[in-house]
């Protein structure tokens, strides 16, 4: 027996959506166990580099300007200065600092970011669907997605309809994701559950299932505009949902915790979690991302520390 709901697809076929119950306390204990991992020396440096590669460097402010976005793109391309790299290159375990996975901006800034990142492999992700609340008519949200895609976004980060979800209208949640996916075409779709508003573990798990069934390429915890944003337990629920979905369907879905991951230590804990829950297969930017802004600089500080043995200070790196 499995608890669950049924969703009707376009073609009239009903798909069952599993509703696995989650025990919050034991979930929390498992999540906490990853924070007890002690990652040292060469493991730490390798993990830090991997984390940098996994960052969706993000700016999502009302105050965003073309100047600000260009600045961010520049940081994405050159996290550290050439001079810095040169200084570090004299140490024996030096390795060139990688670039981040993507830059994440509002739709209006996609063209700017695209231009600033031209010629790099850094992708441009755009939040869409009336981010962060999504409380706008569907047509308008789809238009939002269409605009971002046509402006050149490589990835779309949409929000689910939490209002519909919380009233039990899972069909609407599903249908909307399907429609967004259609508009996206080949553009990668990350589906933001906004777990802070879903409130319960069971809801997070169910929403993950709906999003994956509806065609999400990634599922993502949060907009960063609601507290709590990403947490280890919530990410663990979603990772386990991804693993189960893979084992049932063979489809591989990515995971993006976003918001609240500010330092290298936290990021490494997440990396341990992915490693131990999912196995090394998911330890790639294709399948795991951090939605973050201040995380990058802390990772860079740790690079400096690991390579030189000295603690870095704020001024070692540009703010953004």
């Amino acid at each position: 027996m499995q608890n669950g709901i049924s969703i009707q697809k376009h073609d009239g076929v009903h798909v069952p959506i599993l509703a696995e119950p989650i025990d919050e306390v034991m979930l929390g204990e498992r999540a906490l166990s990853f924070t007890r991992r002690s990652i040292k020396k060469q493991s730490k440096l390798a993990a830090i580099y991997k984390c940098i590669e996994m960052i969706d460097l993000t700016t999502l402010e009302g105050a965003d300007t073309i100047g600000k976005v260009r600045q961010l793109c520049s940081k994405a391309r050159f996290p550290v200065t050439a001079e810095f790299s040169e200084e570090l290159s004299h140490y024996k375990n030096f390795k060139a600092v990688p670039t981040v996975a993507a830059v994440c901006v509002y739709p209006a800034m996609v063209a700017t970011a695209k231009e600033a990142l031209a010629g790099t492999k850094i992708r441009v992700a755009s939040v869409a669907t009336a981010f962060p609340a999504g409380q706008i008519l569907l047509e308008t949200r789809l238009r939002d997605v269409r605009d971002a895609v046509s402006a050149g976004a490589d990835e779309i980060d949409m929000v689910i309809n939490r209002g519909a979800f919380l009233t039990g209208d899972y069909q609407t949640v599903y249908d909307e994701i399907v429609q967004v996916k259609e508009v996206c075409g080949d553009t990668h779709l990350k589906v933001i559950l906004e777990t802070g508003e879903l409130a319960t573990c069971d809801n997070v798990r169910l929403a993950s299932e709906i999003a994956m069934q509806a065609g999400a390429d990634f599922i993502k915890t949060s907009t960063g505009k609601v507290s709590p944003a990403a947490t280890m337990p919530v990410t663990l629920i979603m990772l386990q949902a991804i693993l189960d979905f893979y084992e049932r369907t063979g489809k591989i879905i990515g995971m993006k915790p976003a918001g609240g991951i500010r330092n290298a230590k936290q990021a490494i804990h997440y990396l341990c979690m992915v490693n131990e829950v999912m196995g090394p297969r998911w330890l790639t930017p294709e399948l795991f991302r951090f939605g973050a802004s201040s995380l990058l600089n802390d990772l860079l500080k740790q690079v400096y520390k690991q390579i030189t043995g000295r603690y870095a200070y704020e001024k070692s790196f540009s703010l953004d």
Binding site: D23, V25, M26, C201
Partner: protein, 287 residues
């Protein structure tokens, strides 16, 4: 048969064992005499229970225990109170036995019955309260609800004191059973004629058969079989015989029976708690 030596040729009552709610004779066909007090005149031939009777009694107690324990505490309370009512109704029968076989004065005998009724009423009233007095919600550190409740230990064997003490052993039976235990009682030899009216009290109190089983016989013969019986969870040993105590305790170790050694002669919470186990349940608190 009881009252063989009364002046009129009335119909005397055959005193049998009380097992599983029925009144069987001992399968062994053996008996032992109880005399009119201070005389050689036979009052009755009582069943001298064998180890097979004991085995049957334990089997009855075992099969009745879960059901009895599963009754609501309120229901057990009602049934114990009903026992007090039935004993009240048989007051004269008890008095007559005590006067005739133990030489009590009528007033003494009446007091003893009164005390036994008190004990039944006392524990009837305790059946649904001791849990609140000894149970606990434990303030553990962390997001868990944690509570401890007392639970019947299971099948309790009661080996009564050498010297017959009616109110004491009725009190012990009540203390044992009010929490949901079943019991096999080995009565003291000298007052064992009381088995007949006492069994009738139990049999007419809506008490499920097997919850209380009464045996008359010789403790020296039966105690080792009780002590070694693996279905018995606890032994209440009210006898003072040091050798028997050591032997019973030693055999009890085979399944680590709880030993309640010479319990105090009092009506109290402590008496009930000697026959309970504490179960602690944890459950997380979360969304």
């Amino acid at each position: 048969m009881a009252g063989l030596n009364s002046t009129k040729l009335h119909v005397a009552k055959t005193i049998k064992l009380y097992i599983s709610g029925a009144f069987p004779r001992t399968e062994s066909g053996r008996s032992f005499p109880v005399y009119l007090f201070n005389s050689k005149k036979i009052y009755a031939h009582l069943c001298r229970a064998s180890r097979k009777d004991l085995r049957n009694a334990v089997a009855a107690a075992k099969s009745a225990q879960a059901g009895w324990c599963g009754r609501s505490a309120y229901n057990r309370s009602q049934i114990l109170y009903r026992m007090a009512e039935m004993m009240e109704g048989k007051r004269n029968e008890f008095i007559e036995i005590f006067v005739q076989t133990l030489g009590y004065s009528s007033a003494e005998a009446n007091d003893v019955v009164e005390q036994a009724i008190d004990a039944l009423v006392y524990y009837a009233g305790f059946a649904d309260k001791f849990q609140q007095l000894i149970g606990a919600v434990n303030p553990v550190s962390g997001p868990h609800h944690n509570f401890t409740t007392p639970e019947a230990v299971g099948v309790v064997a009661l080996i009564c004191a050498e010297k017959f003490d009616f109110s004491r052993f009725v009190g012990q039976i009540a203390a044992i059973t009010c929490s949901g235990n079943s019991t096999v009682v080995l009565l003291a030899q000298d007052g064992a004629a009381v088995l007949a009216p006492l069994a009738e009290v139990f049999a007419t109190s809506d008490l499920p058969g097997g919850v209380i089983n009464l045996l008359s016989g010789f403790a020296e013969e039966l105690a080792p079989h009780l002590a070694g019986h693996m279905e018995i969870d606890s032994i209440c040993l009210a006898r003072n015989d040091e050798n028997m105590r050591a032997a019973v305790k030693e055999d009890a170790v085979f399944n680590l029976k709880r030993i309640v050694d010479n319990p105090a002669n009092e009506l109290s919470l402590a008496q009930i708690l000697q026959f309970v186990e504490y179960k602690t349940v944890w459950h997380p608190i979360g969304f």
